[in-house]
Symmetry: C2
Subunit: 343 residues, 2 copies
Amino acid sequence: MEFLKNDLLLRALRKEKVERPPVWMMRQAGRYLPDYIKLREKYDFFTRVQTPELATEITLQPVDQVGVDAAIIFSDILVIPQALGLQVLLEENKGPVLPKVIKTQKDIEALQVEGAADRLNYVMQALSLTKKELAGRVPLIGFAGAPWTILCYMVEGKGSKTWDKAKQFAYTETPLAHQLLQKITDATISYLKAQVKAGADTVQVFDSWAGSLSPADFKTFAQPYLIQIADALKDDAPVILFPKGSWYALKDLSQSSAAGLGVDWCISPQMARELTNNTITLQGNFDPAKLLAPIPEIKKAVKEMIDEFGPQNYIANLGHGITPNVPVDHAKAFVEAVKEYQV
Amino acid sequence: MEFLKNDLLLRALRKEKVERPPVWMMRQAGRYLPDYIKLREKYDFFTRVQTPELATEITLQPVDQVGVDAAIIFSDILVIPQALGLQVLLEENKGPVLPKVIKTQKDIEALQVEGAADRLNYVMQALSLTKKELAGRVPLIGFAGAPWTILCYMVEGKGSKTWDKAKQFAYTETPLAHQLLQKITDATISYLKAQVKAGADTVQVFDSWAGSLSPADFKTFAQPYLIQIADALKDDAPVILFPKGSWYALKDLSQSSAAGLGVDWCISPQMARELTNNTITLQGNFDPAKLLAPIPEIKKAVKEMIDEFGPQNYIANLGHGITPNVPVDHAKAFVEAVKEYQV
């Protein structure tokens, strides 16, 4: 195992004492960076994702240019539906489209869990290459979408404000929904284990649409699968679960095998600490829109955020992905404000 | 004052004992009803809103056809920006567009608060006519958008997933944002008072995008204006505040002059009762997508919801507007399930 020059993220996940909190940003390798835009103009989305050299270059950009304390591999949560045999179309500046959606038992049976992780070998190659290029500068984060969120896309076929069709499927064809969720879970566990083998120091599971579910439905359709994943990975690497919008699940998830929980900005740090009884590392929760505020405002708000979470057992991050309209200087100010924090 | 044959809603808002909870549905006069679709094919949106006879006919449809315990006047929250002098375009099946958005002090100064309620006289005519047609069958609800939500549209110019521009305005031009929020608040108070005069038995304030704000920002940009409205109306009619997504504000708002608080499905009834210390009437919180489940499932879930909220100090409703794809029979099943509830 390579020596890490900056292991703040991993120490925070192990609940070890840190000099200051680690900081990274969801979607940090993305459209607010001019060098990313340049690559986007040359290569389409899945070329960037599937070419290890390009994915590595993009992954390293925010480490080099913004100074974050971790790299997160450039990829997409929809590589899992792809690896299971579904077509995924992704046009720039539009949401993803899955032309063939899941409706029946037969559709679910046709999904190929076996070999799914192997079909994602390009991700493992990108992780290995990135690991090499990082040369121990910062830890490397792998990731996957959570089963509920992946089901949403597989059933709905595209983004949605309400996820009506996905929910109708879950509420009406409940046994089928569980069958699908289990298949996604199995593929995701193999995929995340392969990511760790290839060099990921920790993995994050993004449940981007968890917050569309009521607390009771989250417990039925999301939570058991998140817990399965955290349990299955616990001897491989620390797992961060990010059930966006599902503040109500923080208590239960704080008692899972996860090492960290992501929170969005719609819960106060204090309340998040209370709900998790201060037993788990929390990550978040800066409103990405606040990166559009003047730099002194950003710095002030970051300091307040860290004060409220407390600097230990904490990873500074946004509460959702950085948006394309954020000036690079503002992203840097966010990172600097964390680095300047006096514990 | 006219004698109401069914005053369940008003009794629930006054925290008086009821035989069973009242029930209505947000957007109950809407696109899931075939008779509404017929009118939509003949008249454009603002013709329907601005013609008292049409607005009345649409308002009465769910009372006659679905059996709800209250009528809510057919209108739109964006009539306030219109009355303040901004153009609002509304194409069917698309979101609203405001071609000229608010950016500067001058833009705000140009808004005409004086006379805004008068320019909405067609709403008052629709309320009077509806009141007459109802002949005391059920109470009539008036409504308006909350200042933060109206600011979102006035600054952004259209719907948004993240309300970036609105938030950037609020975070960067904070004094201007407050000036704008105050103007909207003043116009809204006059408008709601006029609605009560014209026949509204209660009024609801929809803060549809409150949930885009952090708890701290809600306290700055949303809460003070909701409280002003509740205070200003408290001697006129019971006020229901519905800060969608802002479960974190329930405690503070339960101590306001409001008579009722709306909650969405992303909080358990039990938690909503705890946060409000059981001191205020709660309204909600059925997941609208659950109306797509089979009827026996709907009925079971409604019973569980009432059990959890408790049948007193409670108004059965959805947690957001009913969606166009709900079969009318399912909407009826929702209403029937409440009516069948044995206290």
